[in-house]
């Protein structure tokens, strides 16, 4: 399989997972009042200086939410950030609490499934003793790149 065929096959897999879960994703994303009450229920948020990138709803909106809105068409750079969000910044401990009943871990797990269709998997360099420079997140939570301007965006 050449590169473009591979990319096409990946995109198809992503769309299949998205389509299968479309209605649920839409309902759950839409129900979120962006109230941020879930923040303090996540021990990772509490233990990382209240960095918003560890907040449950932030992780969902900026991984699953973006994949859903862009129908899976996101570039490598954004995939890398999503990988940080759903693997590095969440251990799926299912302790998060949302007053509206949104099942955040379920949605993060779904984001992981979607990322796997793009060949992006979980890596835990920090648990393997890698030096900090190798796993530090080098992006600002307010400056998510625009996937339309990312040259690697998959069509």
């Amino acid at each position: 399989m050449n590169d473009s065929q591979q990319k096409k096959a990946e995109a198809e897999k992503t769309r299949a997972v998205l389509n299968h879960n479309q209605a649920k994703i839409k309902l759950c994303l839409e129900a979120c009042a962006s109230c941020s009450i879930c923040a303090e229920s996540c021990f990772l948020f509490n233990n990382n200086n209240h960095d918003p990138r560890f907040m449950p709803s932030y992780k969902v909106i900026n991984s699953l939410g973006v994949l859903y809105k862009k129908k899976g068409r996101v570039g490598t750079e954004q995939l890398k950030r999503m990988q940080d969000l759903v693997w590095r910044n969440c251990v799926l401990c299912t302790r998060c609490y949302c007053p509206l009943g949104i099942d955040i871990p379920d949605l993060i797990a779904l984001a992981r499934s979607l990322l796997r269709t793009r060949g992006v998997c979980g890596v835990y360099p920090h648990t393997l003793g890698a030096p900090e420079e190798e796993y530090i997140m080098e992006w600002d939570p307010q400056e998510l790149s625009d996937p339309d301007e990312d040259p690697d965006t998959q069509r």
Binding site: L27, E30, S34, S36, P52, Y58, Y97, L100, Q142
Partner: protein, 224 residues
């Protein structure tokens, strides 16, 4: 204009609100199914409850309170509760609304004095300002806010703001009253189709879907 917005447009809004809400409930039903997995296997007796001393019970109560929304986010819990109570109480119990309902159908709910309704409206608007300021200043809230969140807050607050102006006869009464009716209709229509649909989502999910935080039977689960 006023005749049109209080006539046909009102009926259309009610129709969209009720059918949209029903559609949302149906959708939630179709996305979930009866839960098969139970904690106790069928036929087996539930495990006997362990003996709990009075002290333990007290400690459990304290810990569950500390972990509750009221314990963790007291300000948010109180403001949000007051906001939502006023949101329903002010329009449903207002004397002016009940008079209109009575004139149309000869029925009415209990109503509260105009002065009290005015107070509820002011409290509601104060809560809305609290949400707005929070959304503009608290970093974690900023991180998940989009223009959509501000719009939704505005759609919710607009009928109260215009109702307040109408009651106090600020600006041109007839125009303000028309604006009040229209903003109210926009809010009704928006409830089933925007983030405000959390009204249906909340009751459905937290009562019917099983989970650690469900209030009710939790007999349903999301389909996979």
């Amino acid at each position: 204009m006023y005749e049109f917005v209080t006539g046909p447009l009102l009926w259309i809004s009610f129709l969209i609100f009720f059918s949209g809400t029903l559609y949302r409930i149906r959708r939630l039903y179709s996305l979930t199914e009866k839960r098969e997995v139970t904690v106790t296997p069928p036929g087996a007796a539930a495990p006997p409850a362990a003996a709990v001393s009075a002290e333990e019970r007290k400690l459990n109560l304290v810990v569950s309170f500390q972990n509750s929304l009221l314990g963790k986010h007291p300000v948010m819990a109180i403001v949000s509760t007051i906001f939502h109570i006023c949101l329903f109480a002010a329009p449903l119990l207002s004397q002016a609304h009940n008079l209109l309902i009575y004139e149309s159908w000869g029925i009415s709910f209990i109503s509260i004095p105009d002065k009290l309704c005015d107070v509820l409206t002011i409290i509601f608007l104060a809560c809305a300002v609290f949400f707005l300021v929070r959304r503009l200043t608290v970093p974690k809230v900023i991180a998940v806010s989009s223009p959509y969140d501000f719009l939704v807050l505005f759609i919710t607050a607009a009928p109260f703001l215009s109702g307040f102006c109408a009651y106090h006869q600020w600006l041109d009464y007839k125009t303000v009253l028309t604006a009040h009716v229209i903003t109210g209709e926009i809010m009704l229509v928006a409830i089933p189709f925007t983030k405000l649909g959390h009204m249906v989502f909340f009751f459905f999910v937290r009562i019917l879907i099983g989970g650690e935080y469900s209030f009710g039977s939790g007999r349903r689960a999301w389909k996979t």
